[in-house]
């Protein structure tokens, strides 16, 4: 009975599995959380097609007789230099992967608040699962949800006309998922830390609403670093979402000038720091 073996990872998967079972039982919520990124993609991404600005059909200056080939070439060159790809839609689609990961990861804290409010946490705390594994299991569930949702967003993007870089191979996808995994692990842990002592879901919701837009708009999700004023660029260089976007675009779109090692080093440090902090804080803060 009590001599059952309990490894250092004991309980992580059990906790994560419960969250996942609850999640896939309600397809409605899964669908709802996809609406935002898909709207961004389908409406914003298609309407803001910056690539169309510099084409012969859209650019005709009276009195000047510029050959259409010249305009097209200038357009392509400008797009490539700024976005790293000639297609803004593909640029945005790669950014949307981090967008959905951010949205899903933020919910990790909510599961904590609900478990506390509904008394379930009190039960979990009387089981032999170490406090750190309880919260890491929750983070893991949130990561898995994020990656599943990111896959759906990616499929929708492809259907809407996302173009991958030349010579793309399975390793590029694997690398993208690795980057998203690290981003999600760090973000999920961060929002769980904020929820460790929280009892009201209202304040948790407020935190989520407060930070999601700033986190997105201080990253390169919608526009590249080159277009930012210097002060915004400095902020974006700290934002982990910038690094997962860089990695995703470098791997999927083959955008030039991406330092993939730097991206992964930064994301790895981000994930390790907040996961570690979460484990330590849970040990200290989940007992009264």
């Amino acid at each position: 009975m009590s001599d059952r073996s309990h490894g250092p990872l004991h309980g992580i998967w059990a906790v994560a599995n419960r969250e996942l079972v609850k999640w896939y039982k309600v397809p409605f919520i899964i669908g709802m959380s996809l609406v935002q990124p898909i709207l961004w993609l389908a409406l914003f991404g298609k309407a803001m097609n910056l690539g169309n600005l510099f084409t012969a059909s859209s650019l005709q200056i009276p009195g000047l007789n510029i050959p259409s080939q010249v305009i097209n070439e200038i357009g392509r060159d400008v797009m490539l230099r700024i976005f790293g790809t000639s297609d803004y839609f593909s640029f945005l689609a790669a950014g949307m992967l981090s967008f959905i990961v951010l949205f899903m990861s933020m919910n990790s804290g909510m599961t904590m608040v609900w478990d506390r409010r509904l008394g379930i946490l009190n039960k979990l705390l009387t089981t032999p699962v170490p406090r750190s594994n309880l919260v890491i299991g929750k983070a893991l569930a949130s990561v898995i949800k994020s990656l599943v949702q990111a896959t759906v967003v990616l499929l929708v993007a492809v259907l809407l006309g996302m173009q991958f870089g030349a010579g793309i191979n399975p390793m590029d996808f694997l690398g993208t998922y690795a980057a998203l995994f690290l981003l999600s692990m760090g973000l999920s842990s961060l929002f769980l830390i904020l929820a460790l002592r929280a009892t009201s879901w209202e304040s948790q919701m407020m935190i989520m609403n407060l930070v999601n837009m700033p986190l997105l708009f201080t990253s390169n999700s919608f526009y590249p670093l080159q277009m930012m004023p210097w002060w915004l660029r400095d902020v974006a260089m700290v934002n982990p979402i910038t690094y997962s976007n860089e990695a995703a675009r470098g791997l999927l779109l083959a955008t030039p000038g991406v330092n993939i090692y730097l991206d992964f080093a930064y994301l790895l440090a981000f994930a390790a720091f907040f996961t570690g902090l979460l484990a330590v804080m849970a040990r200290r803060m989940l007992s009264r």
Binding site: M1, S2, R4, S5, H6, H10, G11, A14, V15, N17, R18, V21, K22, K25, L118, G119, I120, N122, K123, L124, L125, T126, T127, P128, V129, P130, R197, T199, S287, R288
Partner: protein, 336 residues
């Protein structure tokens, strides 16, 4: 390795104390020795410190001072070993409403590291025992209060604990359901022979089901004993008299060596050998011109025991709900 030291019992506490935020003393230096196989009750009103005591013994609340050893393991230094040894049925409902009874049980089993096949067998067995097999595949949100309580008990037993903690197992249930819950607990006790510690503020539950009772009041244990010992310790039967001239009656009774106290317009006092002594007393009262309007003799109940040791009736302690709410609010703030 079990920690040697405090004593032999299944649950041993020495000087166990919890002070919230450095000012609110919820549990004040209590000593406990619960032997293997006992059914032990902590009896007291809300706010007496029962739940905080259980919280410390089940490793949910860190003691401010003192030590406790549960199943041979120290609650402060070996909390994970304690958690493996015990089962806990908390006061509040803890099942996940979005999951079925079956899913809840197998989930908790996985948290104890019980392998799948064994967990399923055990879940089935427990659901049968608490008569919920029919509702195994029903979401818990559709359960009634009594069903939820039974599921909680099943969840507390999933790891075949040696020691089971029940915090107010019948709180908020109607009389029939309460009786039913206790019959399940009785069955469990017979089948698994575990040690049980429960809290309650229902006198008759402690009286009927506990082998020993600790009366708690304001964070302290004021008396420990078997129900019989406690009742005998009062010393005699309890007499209630309604008279027309209370002041005179009190004076006369005092001169005869009994110590009446007023309660709800009557005089209440203890009397040894009431069947022969009471007629004498009545005669003495009548001779002094005091009319006895009503009288009642009863064996001491737990209620009287409680009154003897705390100076209050449990009902009265319960009644000051305002005080209780204030206390709860303070506790909640202190804990958050």
């Amino acid at each position: 390795m079990p920690e040697p030291g405090l004593g032999e019992g299944a649950i041993v506490a020495r000087g166990l104390t919890k002070v919230y935020n450095g000012k609110l003393t919820a549990v004040d230096h209590i000593d406990l020795d619960v032997m293997e196989g006992e059914v032990f009750a902590l009896l007291g009103p809300n706010g007496a410190g029962k739940s905080t005591t259980i919280g410390m013994l089940t490793t949910l609340i860190k003691p401010t001072e003192g030590r406790a050893v549960v199943g041979g393991y120290d609650v402060s230094s070996q909390p994970e070993m304690v958690r493996r040894t015990i089962g806990v049925v908390p006061q509040e409902y803890t099942a996940d409403e979005d999951l079925t009874g079956w899913e809840n049980l197998t989930f908790i089993a996985s948290l104890y590291g019980i392998p799948g096949a064994e967990a399923r067998r055990r879940a089935q067995e427990l659901l049968e025992m608490v008569e919920l097999s029919r509702f195994a595949r029903t979401k818990v949100e559709a359960y009634s209060g009594g069903m939820r309580r039974r599921l909680e008990i099943a969840m507390g037993l999933i790891n075949s604990p040696r020691i089971l903690f029940l915090d107010e197992p019948t709180l908020g249930l109607d009389v029939q359901t309460r009786t039913a819950i206790w019959s399940y607990i009785g069955k469990l006790k017979e089948e698994y022979g575990m040690t049980i510690l429960f809290t309650t503020h229902y006198m008759e539950e402690a009286d009927l089901y506990a082998t020993r009772i600790a009366i708690m009041d304001r964070g302290k244990i004021v008396k420990i004993g078997t129900p019989r010992e406690l009742k005998e310790s009062i010393g005699g039967d309890v007499v209630t008299l309604a008279v027309d001239n209370q002041a005179a009656a009190v004076e006369l009774l005092r001169s005869l060596g009994v110590d009446p106290r007023e309660y709800e317009g009557s005089l209440v006092f203890k009397l040894r050998d009431a069947s022969t002594a009471l007629p004498e007393l009545i005669r003495a009262l009548m001779e002094s011109g005091i009319q006895v309007k009503r009288m009642e003799v009863s064996e001491p109940t737990m209620d009287e025991v409680y009154m003897e040791y705390t100076g209050r009736r449990l009902r009265d302690a319960q009644a000051s709900s305002e005080e209780m709410f204030a206390m709860r609010a303070t506790l909640r703030r202190a804990r958050s």
